[in-house]
């Protein structure tokens, strides 16, 4: 069998990329189809939402036709898609703004939260996972497994509340709900929408510290789940690599145990780890929905739940599409990258 050339590999990659994009497209279509079905069939009659309960039959009919509701379903769906792609997510009842602009406005807060939580997950979870896997059966190993078990069993909204009670109520170590103390609102000009960054840019140390004290608890709570997951995965990757022959070979060359772990085994798990981190990020977006509600954190999650209470279907569905799309996108991308950089590639 002839050696696989770089040309072969490139072609396979291209094919894989294309089928990945195809799957992505298909899934996005599925998502929009579901939101379309929900919005059209399950919620309040869209015509009534416009004309009100007391409209006459003629007004009702006129609006029905204007909204395109007399067309076949498929056509309605394509109309819906067209609007989405044009950025028209409808109007929010709650804020009276276009849903899209609301989403863009609230997105940075969620991004901030999820990013810090993931950074915690990486910088704490990875070393802990490596150490746990290297000393399998040791106390750190058991600790990681227990932390992981708790992470899969504790409701995030409850943990958030308990955290608020303990660290804010009783100990006063952190700031309370919201991103800033009330007095600090709207002082900093928003370049990125991320208060931590904006306050640094403006040199406002007080505000930075205040923002930090407010974000640390919700990010910490979310971070816990990230740490639990990343540490578990790192541990199991490590255990697998440490049983490989090349690690023994490194020891034979004179490497110390930890030298073999970090210099030899760790580079081999970096790629699968990156995909794990991505998956963790995606799942944090979901956790953020409940966390933001508990901490009154003005992000996408809170937007969605508030719209829920206000029966603002446009906003709920718009938020669902955005969160759903990011979730799906990150997940599928990570899956794809994992298979592309599979160790199988090495022996090919």
């Amino acid at each position: 069998m002839r050696e696989r050339t770089y040309g072969d590999r490139g072609l396979t990659l291209l094919w894989r990329l294309l089928s990945f994009m195809g799957s992505l497209l298909l899934t996005f279509t599925g998502l929009t189809a579901i939101t379309f079905v929900i919005g059209r069939f399950m919620a309040v009659d869209p015509v009534l939402a416009v004309v009100g309960d007391h409209a006459t039959l003629e007004v009702y009919e006129k609006n029905r036709i204007a909204l395109g509701l007399d067309r076949p379903i498929i056509e309605q769906y394509f109309l819906y898609l067209k609007k989405l792609l044009a950025g028209d997510f409808g109007q929010s009842i709650m804020t009276s703004h276009p849903v899209l602009s609301d989403l863009l406005h609230f997105f940075p807060a969620t991004f901030e939260l999820a990013t810090i939580a993931t950074l915690l997950g990486v910088f704490i979870g990875v070393p802990v996972g490596v150490a746990a896997g290297a000393r399998k059966g040791g106390w750190l190993d058991h600790f990681v497994r227990i932390i992981g078990l708790f992470g899969y069993s504790m409701p995030v909204f409850w943990l958030g509340l308990v955290g608020l009670f303990l660290f804010y109520g009783k100990l006063g170590w952190v700031g309370g709900p919201g991103r800033l103390d009330i007095g600090y609102d709207d002082i900093v000009t928003s370049y990125t929408g991320i208060i931590l960054v904006d306050s640094l840019i403006a040199g406002e140390w007080d505000i930075f510290r205040n923002a930090l004290s407010h974000i640390i608890l919700p990010a910490g709570i979310l971070g816990y789940y990230s740490i639990a997951y990343i540490a578990r995965m790192t541990r199991s990757f490590m255990i697998e690599q440490l049983s490989q022959e090349y690690v023994t070979a490194a020891r034979i060359k004179g490497r110390s145990f930890w030298g073999a772990v970090w210099v030899h085994a760790f580079p081999n798990i970096m790629v699968p780890l990156i995909t794990v981190v991505g998956l963790s990020y995606a799942s944090l977006l979901e956790g953020a929905v409940l966390t933001e509600t508990v901490f009154s954190w003005p992000g996408l999650g809170l937007y969605i739940t508030k719209s829920l209470f206000n029966a603002d279907m446009n906003a709920v569905l718009g938020g669902t599409i955005v969160v759903g799309a990011v979730f799906i996108g990150v997940n599928m991308l990570c899956d794809f990258l994992y298979h592309v950089f599979d160790p199988r590639l090495r022996n090919a």
Partner: protein, 304 residues
């Protein structure tokens, strides 16, 4: 007595060469039960879940006279004391009784979701795996699309549209929970479909539904149960999340998630109102996770 050796129960069950189908089946069950019992994680999980079931079944007896819905505004937000073991909530209702009766709600959600999700997943997966070709492709595409969706957010959207209530919450959760079972059933079916005994049954003239239902599905059951147990915790957490947001079971029905939510405003002073129902959720999820981990160690050690 005759010359035949009389085996003790233990010997009969662990006999390597069972003489009858009944002996083989009960022997297998015995071996599985022993394996599970030797796994401490599984045992602890089993104990927790047994407690959940008992508490739900004997809620009346356990909570005695206390009613989960009787309000008494005079004693609202009372701390735990001899009369109200877990204190009272913002409407003066006994939290202990509400937690105990809440077990019923949790249990029913878990059962309902399982009952919906397992058949759908099995049906889709076994059909796709057995029939193959374009049926497989289409079914798996649909499964993959649903698999990629974020559970909570989508359940939120559904529940928002359908309105609150346990049934809608169950539907919402089920809609995103079924895909893994379809995938699993399909993988198992593909492995089984190649075996000789399936060919034998086909030659005997069995119809496809019969093959699927009577022969393939039973073999998928053990990994299905393991997976289901592992997923239970996640389902409970999602249901509690929906309850926290006011979807799911409606007042005055005591549901742990909504109980946590109602305690939210008073968390700083009357911490028990929100904390205690949350502990209940935690214990039950932990129980299912432990049991699931234990079952997986026993029945399917290679899966991650």
């Amino acid at each position: 007595m005759s010359n035949t050796e009389i085996l003790t129960w233990r010997e009969w069950l662990t006999d390597d060469a069972p003489a009858s189908r009944r002996q083989a089946v009960t022997g297998n069950i015995y071996r599985s039960v022993r394996a599970v019992c030797s796994n401490s994680a599984a045992v602890s999980g089993l104990v927790m879940i047994a407690m959940l079931i008992l508490v739900a079944a004997f809620a009346r007896q356990i909570s005695g006279d206390a009613s989960p819905i009787a309000q008494d505004l005079a004693t609202r937000l009372g701390a735990p004391n001899a009369q109200h073991w877990f204190g009272t909530d913002e409407l003066g209702r006994d939290i202990f009784a509400r937690t105990v009766y809440g077990a019923r709600v949790t249990l029913s959600i878990v059962l309902l979701v399982s009952v919906v999700v397992a058949p759908i997943g099995l049906a889709v997966g076994t059909t796709a795996g057995y029939l193959g070709s374009w049926v497989d492709s289409i079914l798996m595409r649909i499964t993959d699309v649903f698999l990629a969706f974020p559970k909570l957010v989508l359940a939120l959207a559904f529940a928002a549209a359908l309105g609150p209530g346990i049934e809608n919450a169950v539907i919402a959760i089920s809609l995103t929970a079924w895909p893994p079972y379809a995938r699993m059933a399909r993988a198992e079916t593909i492995a089984i479909a190649r075996s000789d005994f399936i060919s034998a049954v086909v030659l005997q003239g069995a119809s496809t539904p019969r093959i699927l239902f009577r022969h393939i599905v039973p073999l998928c059951l053990s990994s299905l149960i393991v997976r289901l147990t592992l997923d239970m915790a996640g389902i409970i957490l999602t249901a509690a999340g929906l309850g926290f947001l006011g979807l799911g079971a409606q007042p005055p029905t005591p549901e742990w998630g909504s109980m946590v939510s109602s305690g939210r405003d008073v968390i700083l002073d009357q911490w028990w109102v929100a904390t205690i129902p949350g502990i209940a959720i935690f214990i039950v999820s932990l129980g299912f996770n432990l049991l699931g981990d234990g079952l997986r160690d026993v029945f399917d050690p290679k899966s991650t």
